[in-house]
Amino acid sequence: MNLQLTSDGRLRHLLTLDGLPRAILTQILDTAESFMDVGEREVKKVPLLRGKSIFNLFFEPSTRTRTTFEIAAKRLSADVVNLNIATSSQTKGEAILDTVDNLAAMHADMFIVRHAQSGAAHFIARHVAPHISVVNAGDGRHAHPTQGLLDMFTIRRFKGEFHNLTVAIVGDVLHSRVARSQIHALTTLGVPEVRVIGPKTLLPAGVEQMGVKVFHNMEAGLAGCDVIIMLRLQNERMKGALLPSAQEYFKFFGLTPEKLALAKPDAIVMHPGPMNRGVEIDSEVADGPQSVILPQVTYGIAVRMAVMALLAGTGNA
């Protein structure tokens, strides 16, 4: 049984992009397109989720993702409550469910969940009452579906189609839930060539089985690309002996104007943020004409509005 879909194939929870049908992905992107102009209006709100309560349940700190979910919910006229729950090492599953039960007793309609542990959002989704929807806002190394969706939305806005693209994902794929969600979405939407580029120590074993081409040489991997997605290099990985140093990493896998020139002239550069300038990306590229990093943030609001609107519409059916 697919936890994410209702028996008639509508979106019930959004937990991962793995296995989500193309029709649902397209429906979310199309719906997001119609939410785009809400942010431009005099009144930046539509009354769709009036009277609904959405809880941002963040067990792991995040500013950008939480803020965009909050803005998205508010633009849909929902009531939003933000909970930043510091997790101590002895926090157990039961404690999470106690929190969830308490919030459900306050008549929550939707939980937006971020957790350092893979599978946390699934765990909550399996537990909640039928009228409550769960959105995974990032769980461990597993998935970050709304980031994956907003990246697809960005690609579609700038490139129009998916079927003729070569897309490269560069950097720490091993620890990246964003990369996993992107790969699932790109392959489902029919991108013929998805490449992952990075040092051996930062690419998961068997990543080829996800339908991607693997490159350890950035110059070779970037040649002819339409879309370059840079991943954030988490500084704590340096200590784990996976990498020699930030300088060394930048030399081989940092996106500089010279390396960018190897991709197609109209290639776009994306990054899920926050960026480490001078580690995975040169400021000249990050702020340059091919960068679509700030549009990604803006689109993230419309995409999250679409996900919440579709879920709230299904929950009551």
Partner: protein, 164 residues
Amino acid sequence: MHASLPDVDPLIARLADAIAPTLTPDTVIVGIHTGGVWVAERLHAILHCALPLGTLDISFYRDDFSRIGLHPQVKPSNLPFDLEGRDIVLVDDVLHSGRTVRAAMNELFDYGRPASIRLAVLVDRGSHELPIRPDFTGLTLDVPPHQNINLSRLDDGHLTLSLA
């Protein structure tokens, strides 16, 4: 009961004749997706309006969202002008309950404060549920509650009315 429904073109011409004397430089035509946009496109062309046509998709303003969810094919609303102080002619194909018009007015006010809104409908079929009446009507028809009247567009752009 209605063996044959009238042609749409003369109905649109009648609407245009009624609207024409009321036009001001601030008049904008706004159609409601989908049928209302088809009628509004025709009116916009016939009346030679200076300002561009506006379109509204009221899916995000429907009062039955919590019962039936989001419409599967939501289209973006497009109002390519400042609404402040405009005289709006809101166009729909069929006036039935009046709930679509209410939703459309709510949406319009989120874009700004128009000077006036008037309602033009191709067909007023009765069975209103809200105190909303058209200012311009192509055809008034008493359709039994269990029947629907639909406007459809053929590939050649021709508009036709049908009962189902």
